[in-house]
Symmetry: C2
Subunit: 331 residues, 2 copies
């Protein structure tokens, strides 16, 4: 009998799920549109049914020992999704409790996608064996999962690791959070795009990017142009990396990680973002850490990283509960 966990990644459009073992082998996976269900309870029931159907079709004899979920604005401590602006259902959604109650009281744990990515890196990826590291997700926004002493930094309320909302430019770009100059306004696909637009607006120099309708301009377009030698596109990556690297140097001063992993769409451009980020990080880092903190792209396969992160969350939780039970026996 094989022990498997279910890893679930919930985003605005799609809910993806997979059955995964402790080595990161995906036995089966599926997905369905997140916002098809009328209400939250129906959604949770469907999620359970989908996982069960996937499991029933599996040839390998197995038990699902736990479910890990990466979801926007979700809280590890409460098990809830709390006021996620990009989901249709409002208020506090008791996701972990609800799913566990209709799924044989299996352990169900939730956290946001950046935290899940960090645990994925620790259990399956480049951070195996590391106890102190940071994962930065460079998607539409910037998320961070900070691991200290082998555990995710959740903080007092479960919301630690909001490095995307460190202020990096006083009175800078307007952020979705209502404040100005947040890191994610600069280091993210949206930030990269706005940096390109800013550069384009300040010069008449020719650029392939000018042919693309502004609202369609993506970090992929900018990467493609940069690779073909477009000066504005290259400069956009350099400025993005500069701000990101400076911010990472500050994060190192706070948590002294062994390594920092970049993942998500912008990270998928590889050296284009990595080189200027590393340069700026090394330039701004305290002397005692110069050349010592590894900065690299996540080793998890881009497409499967979110569900692997969620699966890893479930595995980490089982380990944690085993330790607690073991400690209770002797105290």
């Amino acid at each position: 009998m094989k022990n498997l966990v279910a890893g679930v990644d919930i985003d605005r459009v799609l809910t993806s799920y997979a059955l995964v073992d402790e080595f990161g082998k995906i036995y089966a996976k599926g997905s369905f549109p997140t916002q098809d269900s009328k209400n939250f309870r129906d959604y949770v029931a469907r999620l359970k049914d989908e996982i069960v159907a996937l499991a029933n079709n599996l040839d390998t004899p197995h038990t699902i020992t736990a479910v890990g979920i990466g979801a926007p604005n979700s809280n590890y401590y409460t098990g809830e999704i709390e006021n996620a602006v990009n989901l249709a259902w409002k208020g506090r959604l008791p996701l972990a409790q609800e799913l566990s109650s209709i799924f044989g009281n299996k352990p169900v744990v939730v956290t946001n996608d950046a935290n899940a990515a960090a645990i994925g890196e620790m259990i399956y990826g480049g951070a195996k064996g590391m106890k102190d590291f940071i994962v930065i997700t460079l998607g539409t926004g910037l998320g961070s999962g900070i691991v200290v002493g082998g555990n995710l930094l959740y903080g007092h309320d479960g919301y630690a690791g909001e490095a995307g909302h460190i202020t990096v430019v006083r009175n800078g770009r307007e952020c979705g959070c209502g404040r100005k100059g947040c890191l994610e306004c600069y280091a993210s696909s949206k930030g990269l795009k706005n940096t390109a637009l800013e550069l384009l607006s300040g010069t008449d120099a020719p650029s392939k990017l000018r042919k693309i309708p502004m609202e369609k301009l993506s970090s992929k377009d900018i990467a493609k142009a940069a690779k073909s030698g477009d000066a504005i596109a290259k400069k956009s990556f350099e400025l993005t990396g500069e701000i990101l690297g400076e911010a990472l140097a500050n994060l190192v001063a706070v948590s002294s990680p062994q390594a920092i992993f970049l993942c998500g769409g912008v990270a998928n451009t590889g050296e284009l973002i990595l080189t200027p980020t590393r340069r700026a990080m090394e330039k701004n880092i305290l002397p005692l850490w110069k050349g010592k903190v590894k900065l690299t792209i996540s080793s998890l396969e881009y497409e499967n990283a979110p569900i692997l992160g969620a699966a890893a969350l479930a595995i980490k939780e089982i380990e944690k509960r085993n330790v607690v039970v073991a400690r209770r026996k002797i105290f």
Copy 2:
């Protein structure tokens, strides 16, 4: 038989030590000039002799169970003082190992003063029962001790918590670390003084501070002038608090603490620094934390805080070792 720990605070001038119980009661204390000893080995021998002499004079029957030491540039993981610029002995000094070997192999643990202050706050002060909080020491420089999940954030190499070297002003004031614009260039007694000088240089407005020789100007002088209504002195505290509060808002985004405690000389000025810091922190904090993170002055008595922090470090270490031993029994 009473269990006591020895708490030792080493600074450039004085080595202070005390015998302390688990409630923070100081049974006896003493001090000697740090740099009297010819070499490091003699220094450690004297430290041991001083603690033993203090213990021998104690009426209460007791055992010294462990020694905790707060020292500049010291590393919890290695037990060493590493290249402390303000001590006469150079290189890596194996303080914990050396003292333990001549002191009956008692557990000896070291960390820097800000980390010790954080553990002091947790065991004896306002952070009792808290698992996630930050202590900021505002002395000549700025130190930070960050506690997450009940444990001090040491990071990969033992040097985490260098919040004083977060860059807050690009190309700002020159820092002792060789970089520019570090938080401690603004939020510390030195920073406060330089802000006052900057303000004085930009105006002819009268100020009591002008009567004090520049090299003698202290944060105490500025506090005294501010309390008597001196506009420049008041403004100096406001600007210091503004930068500090902004930095704290960023730290909250990273580690989501329940509370932040200020200690050290500048913190000893109370509301003068607390009010503008709190205002700026609340203004810059992410909406989800507005009004939720307690910002306060350390509740430990200013004079004894360093040795209490060091004693608390020893107590925390004994607790930690007991847990490890207990876990080993069952795994």
